[in-house]
Amino acid sequence: MTRRSAESRVPAIFVVPAGLGLAILLLPLAGLVARAPWTRLGEILASDGVLTALRLSLVTASVATVICLVCGIPLAWILARSRFRGRSLLRGLVTVPLVLPPVIGGIALLVAFGRGGIVGQWLETATGTTLPFTTAAVVLAQTFVAMPFLVIAVEGALRGSDRRYEDVAATLGASSWTIFRRVTLPAVAPGVLAGAVLCWARALGEFGATITFAGSFPGVTRTLPIEAYTAIGAGDAETAIVLSLVMITVAVAVLAALRDRWVVRG
């Protein structure tokens, strides 16, 4: 039976703004689909520039996700489990990249890791290499913007997990590393997976910090979003639209995966 009461009837005044909002959200996407060069789709996707950018994006986003997992899980554990002064400050700092404009993130990375930067200077003297405008810089920029997603997801999962399992494991003689590996990690695995997917999607879509810190060199730092930006700048709307569709497909796939597997169930 459908619920019919005064409270659930849509106020007439809502119809126009809600419709307008929907139009703002959906019209651009509809435009992409309408203008997509469907007949030349395969040809454009198989072109050298697109394939190179796609390969670079997949590799860098995956490497960045692995780095986020390796560093982010321990960081999340410390934020969730240990007690020390300034912990809430630290948690706040970790989430800064979430609200920072990515371009500003890129500038910050450049200042820190660029030639003459605090770390960059030392890196150059020690190893003779510099980071900016390399593939490593792309990975670093992606890691910078994506890690907060992972840390927040894993920290939430850790807070929600029942610590008494860890107590039982301790009485059974397990060391804190064994407890983490065999009890805690399996318990928070759905959270880690959800965090990793979000993290990967964010890394794949990274643009601002990457172009600022790593530039746009084909095959080295020109990832999918940068390739799309370059294409539209050069007047090649068809390539830009196809690349946009690729990114949208990935985004929708991530949303669907998270919705079915983790977000609802968790």
Partner: protein, 350 residues
């Protein structure tokens, strides 16, 4: 294998202050109402809660001594813990759960699993070895949890409400089984429970904890026959009164006395069974009887009988037949006389 513990610890307003001795091979039932501090004490013994002040030794080996700063972590204590909801690791099979302790102590996988399988068999759950915890019944999960704790051959076994999560139908069988396994177990064990029957069946000794203090301890027989607090008396189903005895008379307040069948002296507890109480509408005849007027406060079905709560200068519980309830027209608010024969009364020093 024995345990000796003196523990003092504060958690907010609550203070736990107990001295507990568990002789080698014995099982102590720690009985008490919710919030008495039973689980806190268990946590301290297991090494999961750090007490403010404590001296805990197992087999003469110091586990905790706050005076010298000695503190052995849980993983090095040789303690087995089984809790109310078992906490079997959900992603591991029953066998992997049982093998967890040995694996954590560095035993190779194959050897650990073989020992774990033996324990599952011994506890009668060998056939569910490949199942995951969510596919186990409550009774099976309880046995797997026990196997997991016993597989590392702990010196001290701690059971926190081990039967509370089971449904009433399976509880007696699991309880009888648990009793048998505890009898075979060579180390010492502490069973925390709020169920008096469980405490009596499982424990060689009973320790009653109320508000962070041990209020009574002894063999099940001593404690049930001679309860010293209202909580214990209620649990074992006895009326408990306190007073000062002089000869055959115990005075409990102005004009309230109990007559005994033999002499006693000083502060005493007076205990009698609700079944020994007779209710009547008027003051009963006969001088040897103790009789007090009171008001019926509550009626409750109790097996084949009806348990009547009578309030007055001497509050008592009386078990009467449903027929008597009808005859006397008993209902809350009705005035009755409760009487007990002197020979039905047990008296012991307070």
């Amino acid at each position: 294998m024995s345990l000796a513990a003196e523990v003092t610890t504060r958690r907010g307003d609550f203070e736990l202050d107990v001295t507990l001795e568990v002789p080698a091979g014995s099982v102590v039932s720690l009985l008490g109402p919710n919030g008495a501090g039973k689980s806190t004490l268990l946590g301290v013994l297991a090494g999961l809660l750090q007490p403010d002040a404590a001296l805990i030794t197992m087999d003469g080996e110091v586990m905790v001594d706050t005076a010298t700063g000695t503190y052995v972590a849980a993983r090095h204590r040789r303690v087995g813990l089984v809790v109310q909801d078992y906490l079997l690791f959900p992603h591991l099979t029953a066998l992997e759960n049982a093998a967890f302790g040995l694996r954590s102590r560095g035993v190779p996988r194959r050897a650990a699993r073989s020992v774990a399988a033996t324990w599952l068999d011994r506890l009668g759950v060998g056939e569910v070895a490949v199942r995951r915890p969510r596919e186990l019944s409550g009774g099976q999960a309880q046995r797997v949890a026990l196997a997991r704790a016993l597989a590392v051959e702990p010196s001290l076994l701690l059971l926190d409400e081990p039967l509370a999560a089971l449904d009433v139908g399976t509880r007696p069988a699991v309880r009888a089984d648990l009793r048998r396994h505890l009898a075979e177990y060579e180390g010492c064990a502490v069973v925390v429970t709020h169920d008096p029957l469980e405490a009596l069946v499982l424990g060689d000794r009973l320790v009653v904890l109320e508000q962070g203090r041990i209020v009574q301890e002894g063999t099940p027989d001593q404690v049930t026959r001679h309860p010293t607090t209202d909580y214990v008396a209620r649990l074992v189903g006895l009326n408990l009164l306190r007073g000062t005895a002089e000869g055959r008379v115990v005075s409990m307040g102005p004009e309230t006395v109990v007559t005994l069948a033999h002499d006693a002296a000083g502060p005493v507890h007076v205990a009698f069974s609700p079944a020994a109480v007779t209710l009547s509408p008027h003051r009963p005849e006969g001088s040897a009887r103790n009789a007090w007027a009171g008001t019926v406060a509550d009626l409750e079905r109790h097996g084949d009988l009806v348990r009547v709560t009578v309030e007055g200068p001497v509050p008592v519980l009386a078990d009467v037949t449903p027929l008597a309830v009808a005859d006397l027209d008993l209902a809350p608010g009705v005035t009755v006389w409760a009487s007990v024969k002197a020979t039905e009364i047990t008296v012991y020093p307070a």
